[in-house]
Each structure stands twice: as structure tokens, then as C-alpha cells.
Amino acid sequence: MQSMNPDALHKKLIAAARAQVPSQHVPLAFEKRITALLRRRPATDYLGLWARGLWRAAVPCITVMVLLTGWSFFAPPKASSNDLSQELDNTVLAAAVPEQPPADSQH
């Protein structure tokens, strides 16, 4: 049974597509219809401008976010190992625990 050579078929079909040049026919009064349509529309696509601005802002925002995330993970630890919540606890407890009189004043 004869078999089909896909590569040869590909070349043949591409040649067929190249031989078929699309028509450049323009429907009658097309340019007049377009001009009439454009006169009814606003010249500036405000929604498109706004959307474009948002997309442009997205890249620097994501960059800043990645940098800050990286910094929070890889920043060197502080000298004190206590975090802020622990320090707050210490401050509050220090105020709450009554002062003990010195040992020699009890006699």
C-alpha cells in the first residue's frame, strides 16, 4: 500500500496556499461607511487608555512586591531576638508586676 509522505504533503499544500493570493476587493462605499461610523464614536478610547495605564502600573507594583518579599525573607536578623510582640508583653508585664521592696527594709 502506498503511504503518504507528510513532509512532501506539507510543502505541496503550503505551495497551494501561496498560489492563492487573497483578493484586495473593497466593498462599495466602504470608506464612507467607516468615516460615518467614526464620526459617531469618540476619537479617544478612554477605557482603553485607562486599561493600558493599569497594565503599565502592574509591572512596577509586582516588582516592588517581589523586592519587599525578598527583603523580608533575606534581611539580616536584628541584634535582639525579641520581636515587637514580645517586647510589648515585657513592657506591659513590667508595669503590672508590683515592685518588690528591697530585702533589708523588711526587718
Binding site: M4, L9, A16, S23, Q24, H25, I34, T35, L38, A43
Partner: protein, 191 residues
């Protein structure tokens, strides 16, 4: 006295929409020919071309006169055609058992003797259209620009806005998709 393109564009940007008409008249043939590569129905072709001109009008302020207006317009046209392909993706699972008799006869002639299967035959044209319709939108765009219109990778990059490496990757994938389709055709018809 006929105005230059730069004068027409300046007039449109000042608010004279009527000055856009000569540009539409001058370049519509080329835009229509481009749209006809990607859409079969004439109503779809006209919709695509209309969309191209509306976008051109709205984005005219962004046109930099370093490059010719025609290049800028054709970039817009190709991207609009690509958007059309993406929005009109159909279920591409067509089997090759649905080929018409002329297409089947052409394939059989090709298998028997490739030289006897003419590229200018209508059946060849129908087969190519059937294959292109089954490709994904990026594959169809790349195959059309790279192989049918014989454009360079750099030209395709300029037209589509894709980077040169991305064009090359998509070309590789598009050819693989095409090979897979042709192998499927060979399997269904001749095994």
C-alpha cells in the same frame, strides 16, 4: 491638490474625521487582503477590517512618523486578525473522513504521484484551508506569516509584537502541530 499622509493625519488629530477617508481608501485593499487570510466569510472579513480602522482612528495619536503609516497599520491589522482567531476558536476536532470527493481525489493523486497533484487545484486550496482552521490561533498566524507569506522572523516579531525568541518557539510548535495534523490525515485516510 492631494494632501500628504502627514497632513491628513495631522488634520484627523485636530478633529477633522473626514480627512481619515482618503487613508481608508488608500489602504483598505491591503487590509482586506490580510483579513481574507484569516476569515472565510465576507461578513467576518468586513467586521475585521472595520475593527482595524476603528482602532487605527482611536490610536492615531500614538502613531510615530518614524515608520511609514502603512507599516503601523499592517501591524494593527495582523494583531486584530489574531484577536479574531482567538475569539472565534471553534472545536477543532474535525476528522479527515469528512473530506469532500475532490479533496480525497487530490490526496489519492498525490499519494500515487505527487507531481500529478496540482497546487493550483481548488481541492488543494480547500485542503489547506481545512488544515489551517484546525491549527491553534498562534500556530495559524505563524504558519501564515512565515510559510505562506514568506516573512522573516524579525518581520513577524514587528508585526505581532512578539519577541524574536517567542516567534521562533511558536514557529517550532506550529510546525509540530502541522506535522501532527498531516500524520493524522495520513493515518485516517490510508491506514
Amino acid at each position: 491638490m492631494e494632501r500628504t499622509e502627514a497632513e491628513l493625519i495631522a488634520a484627523v488629530l485636530k478633529g477633522d474625521a473626514a480627512s481619515f477617508e482618503p487613508l481608508v481608501q488608500r489602504y483598505s485593499p491591503r487590509v482586506f487582503a490580510t483579513a481574507r487570510r484569516y476569515a472565510r466569510r465576507e461578513s467576518e472579513v468586513e467586521d475585521i477590517v472595520q475593527e482595524v480602522w476603528v482602532k487605527a482612528f482611536q490610536k492615531l495619536a500614538g502613531f510615530r512618523s518614524e515608520a511609514p503609516f502603512e507599516h503601523w497599520l499592517m501591524r494593527l491589522a495582523v494583531r486584530t486578525c489574531y484577536d479574531f482567531l482567538r475569539s472565534h476558536q471553534r472545536n477543532r476536532e474535525t476528522t479527515f473522513s469528512e473530506l469532500s470527493e475532490p479533496e480525497t481525489d487530490w490526496l489519492e493523486r498525490f499519494v500515487g504521484d505527487p507531481e500529478t497533484a496540482s497546487e493550483s487545484a481548488d481541492a488543494a486550496r480547500l485542503l489547506v484551508e481545512r488544515l489551517l482552521e484546525q491549527l491553534s490561533p498562534p500556530a495559524r498566524l505563524i504558519i501564515t506569516l512565515l510559510e505562506i507569506e514568506d516573512r522573516s522572523v524579525k518581520e513577524i516579531s514587528d508585526l505581532t509584537g512578539w519577541s524574536v525568541p517567542l516567534v521562533k518557539v511558536r514557529a517550532f510548535r506550529a510546525r509540530a502541530e502541522m506535522r501532527k495534523l498531516l500524520a493524522k490525515m495520513a493515518k485516517e485516510k490510508y491506514l
